[in-house]
Symmetry: C2
Subunit: 348 residues, 2 copies
Amino acid sequence: MTVTLADVAARAQVSPATVSRVLNGNYPVAASTRERVLKAVDELDYVLNGPASALAAATSDLVGILVNDIADPFFGIMASAIQAEIGGPGGRAGGERLAVVCNTGGSPERELTYLTLLQRQRAAAVVLTGGAIEDAPHRVAMDAKLRKLVDAGTRVVLCGRPQAPETGAIALTFDNRGGGQELTEHLIGLGHRRLGYIAGPLERTTTRHRLEGHRDALAAHGISEDPRWTVHGRYDRRSGYEATLELLRRDPSLTAVVAANDSVALGACAALRESGLRIPDDVSVAGFDDLPFSIDVVPALTTVRLPLAEAGARAGRIAMGREEEPPGGVAGVRGELMVRGSTAGPRD
Amino acid sequence: MTVTLADVAARAQVSPATVSRVLNGNYPVAASTRERVLKAVDELDYVLNGPASALAAATSDLVGILVNDIADPFFGIMASAIQAEIGGPGGRAGGERLAVVCNTGGSPERELTYLTLLQRQRAAAVVLTGGAIEDAPHRVAMDAKLRKLVDAGTRVVLCGRPQAPETGAIALTFDNRGGGQELTEHLIGLGHRRLGYIAGPLERTTTRHRLEGHRDALAAHGISEDPRWTVHGRYDRRSGYEATLELLRRDPSLTAVVAANDSVALGACAALRESGLRIPDDVSVAGFDDLPFSIDVVPALTTVRLPLAEAGARAGRIAMGREEEPPGGVAGVRGELMVRGSTAGPRD
DNA sequence: ACGTACATAGAAAGCGCTTGCTGTCACGCT
DNA sequence: AGCGTGACAGCAAGCGCTTTCTATGTACGT
């Protein structure tokens, strides 16, 4: 039924071995023979059997990319950049590799299961994006899994994720803490003293780091934080909307709201407007990430730009062994404060 | 080095065949034996070899999802929904399948190459999202490829893509034409007579259909279209920005701008504002798709909501054979006009 | 007590490809 | 003339799993 290597070989009057070598191009084959084989391949419309090839060669051309939420541009942008470097068809890489984007939905179990699935497929490399989950047992399990992947020859790269010591994974970490600090410092510099903070889910490292940066800035300026000023939620617009209403309820005198990321900030803006407050006249709002839409909202969002595409591209290259690993297996990626219209000095 | 089925079998004191059956659970195995095997699997930390299994069973658990641009939420949302239904780990589907999101970047070649790669992997199903490319040779090549995939037992589903007759693929098509028409009719109803249109790339079916809807509406109301009123560009913000400036240059008297999609509309808004025009007081703006951010821009965008998540979910279920195929292999998906603040009657 | 049927387990034959090793020439060197 | 040396091509042994067919009990009916 389906055409196999042997069929091609028969048609080209050569041995299967020769056909295989022509296709893989890693062994000398006479030009005339090669041509004959290629012709047969074409005529028979032969398509290599991936699994068989992977089995025999003990390697595959799959590269896994784990993301928390593929519908979120934060991950989409990174995934896109990683994938462009992985090579996929048309990429600048040599062989054609299949980039597999896996959506964990932020679930620890799915994260692990996907890793197992990738391990099963003998993936050539795996790139994990986004913050990690701060649950000790899960972390141990993840590290063990990563270690196993690395041991099996899979290149593992963490992009925007804290380093996983002892696993052999390469990490490109985002300076969430520094960015958060800079952002809050900007607000303090404008004169704000009562700042609300809408944090992400408690169990994510990204959440903690950004929040720590925020608090560092407050502390550095001798502002004692009111516990009512922090609300936790998800990394989405909806959450920002609700959290803002909650913040306003708790302390209507806030003059600024710092959001866990840009989507959350958008929700915050909506809530503020609906509450009759003007941005930035009455309340300043700041986001994080600098996603493409952040410049389009009105007023444009002050935020911390994370070079998602650049980091993704680099992670992709490292995963493909086309770029040297950073010394020590870790490299920090800094954010850049983008001051725009959504922040200004407080009213009073 | 790596643990194989045979190792597990030896440890559990059974034959490899039995271990395989325990793992696949499709053959009676005594409870006591099963337990022994499972214990051995656990102790040895055995991970099935995907390629080997796929080779022997002549099927794989890979499902491909082709998208034009993974960084664009339009595709991200669909991909996410499809994937949730495909089952991935934790999904409601039975077996664990690996959803492979492939980013074609809108390139015809990559589209084909990815399909070949998926064919190579003997993918269980493939879902293609987004509009198709209107290039006759490419279309023929695509159809042939799809046909081959279908013949090889791969389920092929088109989500938001025109039907591909004779290929055996199931299609869920978006009513871009109807949506475009409704949108423009809304504008005409408000009193607009001079409407600019920022279209997507010429060679995409989505572009043509939306534009046709727009023109149908104009024609139905006896408005003769000025060729200067249409500009083509990409489906992104930047393009919307530039196209709007161009439109304004060509005819400053336009009272409304219809964009190919929401991202383009965002760019249009920015350009208008920078030109000192107010929305919707001076110029109305409308988008298409109703992406999440569209409600957050100010003023909120009038647009046509496409049920991306629902359509994706349905496509995913059909791909998994968990939902009956629509009669005739095609089902239309309608959009819904969302009237918001960015459109109003013309100034004069 | 004996045959029959059912429930399990094993043996073994591939699945389609890669690759180490073994030829076989044709050439050029001494 | 004799032979080392490349350059190719083929043989055949797997890669690790699935699955058909066969074997072995065991329980039951008569």
